[in-house]
Symmetry: C2
C-alpha cells in the first residue's frame, strides 16, 4: 500500500563510502540501504535465500570468537579470507541450505559490519545487492521513507561495484515518480550504471576490487554477485539481528 500520495515526495541520497556518512543531508525518516556487492550484502541475501533463520552481525573479531565459543555458526573474514576459527568466510557460495537452513548465523566482515554499525541511527537498515534488486525496490516503495544508499566501498574509498548498484537502485526508485534526488553522488551513480548495464561483467573488469579477489582466488562468485533478481529476500536489520522482511510480512 502506498502511504505517500505526493509525487516525488521522498528523497534519495547516495553515500559513496562510510567515511562520508557523517556528511549526509537527509536528516529524518530515512531507511539506509547498505551495499557491499563484493561481498557482504550479496552473501547475506544468499544466506536468506538458502533459509538462514536470522543473522547476528558483529563488528569485531573478539565478539565473533566469543559467539563461536557459545556454539553459534560463525562467518568471519579479513581482507576476503576466511579466518581459522570461523565456520565460513564471506563467499555467497559458503551458505548452502544444508549448512545454514533454519539456523542462526553470526556474521563478522571487514567492511559490511562497520557500515552497519554506522547506520544504526536510521529508521531501518536494509541489505541491498543486485541479486535482490527488484524485491528491495518494491519493499522500499512501500515504506514511506526517504532512502540513503550507503556503499561500503573499500577501506573507506569509493568503489565501482557498489556505486553501479546504487545507480541501478536509484534509477528504479526514480521511475516510480515517488522519489526525487538533488544529490550529485546519486546522479553520478545513475550515469555510471547506464554505462555498466549493457555488459555488467565486462564493465566491472575495471574495478580494482575485482582484481584483488582474483589474486586471492576468490572471484568465482563474481557472476553470481551481478545476476540481477536471483532472490526475492529483503534482509533488514533491526534490534541487533538481520531478518528477512519478506517473511516477517
Amino acid at each position: 500500500m502506498k502511504k505517500s500520495p505526493l509525487e516525488n515526495s521522498r528523497c534519495i541520497e547516495v553515500c559513496f563510502t562510510p567515511k562520508l556518512y557523517s556528511e549526509i543531508q537527509t536528516k529524518d525518516g530515512y531507511i539506509v540501504v547498505l551495499v557491499d556487492i563484493l561481498r557482504a550484502t550479496t552473501s547475506i541475501c544468499a544466506a536468506f535465500e538458502n533459509g538462514v533463520k536470522n543473522i547476528l552481525p558483529v563488528a569485531t573479531l573478539e565478539e565473533a570468537k566469543s559467539m563461536k565459543d557459545q556454539g553459534f555458526l560463525v562467518a568471519s573474514e579479513q581482507d576476503g579470507k576466511k579466518l581459522d576459527f570461523a565456520d565460513f568466510g564471506n563467499s555467497a557460495f559458503n551458505f548452502s541450505a544444508e549448512s545454514i537452513g533454519g539456523k542462526t548465523l553470526v556474521y563478522c566482515t571487514t567492511n559490511g559490519t562497520r557500515a552497519l554499525d554506522l547506520a544504526k541511527k536510521s529508521d531501518k537498515i536494509a541489505i541491498g545487492a543486485f541479486i535482490n534488486l527488484t524485491a528491495l525496490t518494491n519493499w522500499l516503495i512501500d515504506q514511506d521513507r526517504n532512502v540513503v544508499i550507503l556503499c561500503s566501498g573499500w577501506k573507506n574509498k569509493f568503489c565501482l561495484e557498489d556505486t553501479i548498484f546504487a545507480g541501478a537502485l536509484t534509477e528504479k526508485l526514480l521511475v516510480t515518480k515517488q522519489f526525487s534526488t538533488s544529490c550529485d553522488s546519486a546522479a553520478a551513480a545513475v550515469d555510471l550504471w547506464s554505462l555498466a548495464r549493457p555488459d555488467i561483467l565486462g564493465y566491472i573488469e575495471k574495478a580494482a576490487h575485482r582484481h584483488r579477489l582474483k589474486k586471492l582466488g576468490l572471484d568465482d562468485v563474481i557472476p553470481y554477485s551481478f545476476a540481477i533478481d536471483s532472490t526475492r529476500v529483503v534482509p533488514v536489520y533491526m534490534k541487533g539481528e538481520i531478518v528477512d522482511e519478506q517473511k516477517v510480512d
Copy 2:
C-alpha cells in the same frame, strides 16, 4: 624534458572530497592537483591570466581580515557570496587586469583553501581548472611525479563538476602512456567525463551546485568555467604563496 622513460611508471589517484584525502594510497613523490571548478581554482587561474603577481591563500576569515588591515587586496566569500570587508568575492569575473594586474591578492574561500591546507604534505600543489587543462597536463608530464587529483567537492560531499574535470585530466595523462591508474575513483571520473564531454554545459545542469549558484545569482560565470584551455597559466602553491609556474620557468 621527460625524466621518466618507463611507460606507465607514474600513478594517478582521484580523491572525490577533502574528507577522503586521508585515505589516499599514493604514498610518496606526488603532486596534488587541487580542483574547485565552481569556483576557487577557476578564479585563481583567471587571476593569473589577468596578471596577478602572486596569491596568498588563507584558511580563516580572521586571517583575511588581518591581511586587509595590512593593506592587501583581499578576496573572501562564504557560500559563494562576497563578504563585506573584502575587495572581491570569488567570481573569476572579479579579477580584471585593472584591479589585480601586478598586485598581490589574499584569497580566502570556503572550500578551496581548506583543501589547499590539507594537501600541504605533498611535493607540490597545482591549481587545476578546465580553463588551464592542457597547460596543466603538459606541466604535470614534465614533473616526473605521481599525481593525486583532489576535488574540493561541496561541504565534504562529492560534486559532479570537479569530478568531470578529474576525468578529463586523468584521460589526458593516461594517453601519454607515462601514467597508469588502479583507482576506481579515477575510472569513474573518466567515465563520467565521457558522458559530459559532448555537451558539458548541458551535462552540468544536473549538478546540485550549479543550481545553488543560480539561486544566488552567481551563475554568470558558468560558461567561462567550462571553457577548456582559455589560459596557459599553471598556478602552483609553494612556501605559502601561489605563483604561475609557467612564468617562473
